[in-house]
Amino acid sequence: MKISLLRNPLIWLFVVFAIFPIAATAINQTYYLSFISKVMVFGIAALGLNLVLGFGGMVSLGHAAFVGVGAYAVGLCMHYGVTNGWVHFGLAIGVGALSSLLIGALCLRAGGISFIMLTLAFAQLLFFLGVGLKQYGGDDGFSFRGHSEFFSWLQLEDVRVMYWVILACLALTVLVVGRSTRSGFGLALRGVKSNEGRAQSIGLHTYRHKLAAFVLSGMFCSLSGALLANLTQFVSPSYMHFSRSAELLLMILLGGISSLLGPVVGAAAFIVLEESLGHITPHWQAPMGLAIVLIVLFARNGLIDLAMAVVVRFKRKRS
C-alpha cells in the first residue's frame, strides 16, 4: 500500500506543485506563481469535463459556459459589494449545478452529434446573455477590485495564498473525481460509455447517470470559474466562448483521455504551448492550430502515452 502510494504519479504531481512556490519565491519570480495558478484553475475545469468526456464518453462543446457562470457569480457579487467568499463560491457552484442540470437534461435527450451541437448552442446562449448585459460591460466584461474573503488569516490578495487555495481546490477535485470514478456510479458511467444499450438492458438508468455526471462536471467547471475570477479580477463573456470549450477538450486529449492525471498535465501542456508560441510570434494561432491538427491526428492517446511509448522504445534499444 505504502509503495503503491509512492508510485502514484498523482502524489508526485502534488509534490511538484507544492515545492514550486517555495522555489519561485526563492528566485523572486512570483509571475510564475500566477502562471501555475492559471494552469491549475484550467486543470480543475478539465478534470470536471473529463467526468463527462473521458468516463462518460459524451463530447460536450459547451462546458466553458459553466466556467463563465462561476466567474460571473463571483464578479456580480463583488460588483454589488458582497465580499463573503462562502457566498461567492456557494452561489457559483449552486448556479453552476442548476444551469448544468437544465442544459444537461435538455441536451441528453439527443445523443451523438446532436449532443455536441446542443451543448455548443446552449453555451452560446449564455455567451450572448453575457454580451447582452450592457450594464455589466457587455462584450468587454468588467473588472473589479478585491477578492473573495474567507477568514482574516486567509487573504487572497497575496499570490502565494491564492496559489495554495487553488492547489487545495485542485486536490479536492482530484479526490472527488477519483472517488466517484471508482464508485458504483463511475463503473455504471463507464458501462454507459462502452455500450449504452447493454447498460440499459441490465437495468441501469443510463439517462440519470449521464445527467449526474454532467451536473457534477458543471459544478467543477463553475468552481474553476470562481477561482479564475479571483485570479484575474476580471469577468467577461469571452470565458464562455466556444473556443474556450474546445480548448478544455483539447487539454484533456493532450494529457490523455480517461486517466485521472491526464487533464491536469494537458492543461499545463496547452497553456505552456500557448504562452511560448505567443512569445515567438504575434501570429501564434497559426502554428498552434497546426500543432493541434497534427497532435490529434498522430498522437491519439495524448502526451503521457506518447512519452511512455518513447521511454519504452528507449529502454528496448538499450537492452
Binding site: 450592457k134 483539447l250 498552434m288 493541434i292
Partner: protein, 309 residues
C-alpha cells in the same frame, strides 16, 4: 421608433436575406453531418476563405460578378486539398477527434488570413448597377443587392432540390445519408461521393461568404458565428435534411431580425424603460436559441428528421 408597415417589410426582407445566406452555409454542412457523420467545424473557414477570395479576385479582375463566380471554384479546389490532407483521415475517427482537428483548422485559417490580408476587416462594394434601391409598398426603400441575394439563394435551393431528387448523384447522396455501408456494398465509390459533397458544400459556403462580403466586413473569424447559427439550424431542421435546413435557416433569419427589432419595443410597452433597455437586446439575440429549445422539446430529432435516425 414606431411600428410601421414599411419597417416591418424591411425587417422581414432582411430576415429572409440572412436566412437564405445561412441556408447556403448550412446545406453543405448538414449533408456532411448526415452522410458522413462527420463533425466539420472547418466549414466556417470555407465561408471566410470564399469571401477573401471574392475580394481578391474582384480587385484582380475588376469585376464583382467575376470575382464572386471565380471564388467558388477556388474554394472548391481549396476544400479538395483540405479534404485530401486532413478530412479523409478523420471519417473513421471519433467525434472528439473530428471536433478538435477541425477546430485547429479554423484557428489556423483565421490566422493565415490575418497574415496574408492583415488584421483589419476588408470592405468591398457592389457595382453601381447593384447599389440602387427599390421602393417598397409604404414608401420605404430597400437595397436591390439584398433582393439579389434572396433571389440567388432561392435559385440555388431550387437547383439543389432538383439535383437531389432527380439526378444520379442526388440519388447517391440520399442513399448515402440513409445507409452508407449499403451504397458501398453495391459498388459505389462512397469516398468519392464524400469528397464531392465536402467540396461542393464548401463552394456553397464560399458563395454565402462572398455575397455577404459587401454587407458586413470581410474579416478573420467571420465564419465562426455563422457556424454556430448553422448548427442551430441543423438541430431545428434535422441532421442531413436539405429541406429542413432551408426552412430552419429562413425561420432563424426572420425570427432573429424581428426579435432584435421589435422585442425591445415590445418590452418597453410592458416594462419600465431602463428594464426594457437592459433585457431587450439580450433576449433579442437569445430568441433563436429559445426557438431551438422549443423545437427540441417537441421533436428531439428536428422538424424534418430522417426516419430511423
Amino acid at each position: 421608433m414606431i411600428f410601421t408597415l414599411g419597417l416591418f417589410l424591411i425587417q422581414l426582407l432582411n430576415g429572409l436575406q440572412f436566412g437564405v445566406t445561412l441556408f447556403l452555409f448550412t446545406s453543405g454542412l448538414t449533408l456532411v453531418l448526415g452522410i458522413m457523420n462527420f463533425m466539420n467545424l472547418g466549414h466556417a473557414s470555407f465561408y471566410m476563405i470564399g469571401a477573401y477570395y471574392a475580394v481578391a479576385l474582384t480587385n484582380w479582375s475588376g469585376s464583382f460578378v467575376f470575382g464572386v463566380l471565380l471564388a467558388l471554384p477556388a474554394t472548391y479546389v481549396t476544400a479538395l486539398a483540405v479534404e485530401w490532407l486532413v478530412f479523409r483521415r478523420l471519417y473513421e475517427r471519433s467525434h472528439l477527434d473530428q471536433v478538435l482537428v477541425t477546430f485547429g483548422l479554423v484557428m489556423f485559417f483565421n490566422e493565415v488570413v490575418r497574415i496574408i490580408w492583415g488584421t483589419a476587416g476588408l470592405y468591398f462594394t457592389v457595382p453601381d448597377w447593384l447599389s440602387g434601391s427599390v421602393v417598397l409598398g409604404s414608401g420605404a426603400l430597400y437595397p436591390v443587392y439584398r433582393l439579389l441575394i434572396i433571389a440567388v439563394g432561392c435559385l440555388v435551393a431550387l437547383a439543389m432540390f432538383l439535383v437531389i431528387k432527380y439526378t444520379r448523384i442526388g440519388m447517391l447522396i440520399r442513399a448515402g445519408a440513409d445507409k452508407p455501408e449499403m451504397v458501398e456494398a453495391v459498388g459505389v465509390n462512397i469516398r468519392g461521393v464524400f469528397r464531392g459533397v465536402v467540396a461542393l458544400g464548401a463552394a456553397l459556403a464560399a458563395l454565402a461568404g462572398a455575397l455577404s462580403g459587401p454587407l458586413y466586413s470581410v474579416e478573420s473569424g467571420m465564419g465562426d458565428s455563422m457556424l454556430i447559427l448553422a448548427l442551430v439550424a441543423i438541430t431545428i431542421g434535422g441532421v442531413g435534411s436539405i429541406r429542413g435546413s432551408f426552412f430552419a435557416a429562413l425561420m432563424i433569419g426572420v425570427v432573429d431580425a424581428m426579435g432584435r427589432m421589435f422585442l425591445p419595443q415590445l418590452f418597453a410597452i410592458f416594462l419600465s424603460r431602463p428594464v426594457a433597455d437592459a433585457i431587450g437586446p439580450a433576449t433579442g439575440s437569445m430568441l433563436i436559441y429559445l426557438l431551438m429549445i422549443v423545437v427540441l422539446l417537441a421533436r428531439p430529432n428536428g422538424l424534418f428528421a430522417f426516419r430511423g435516425r
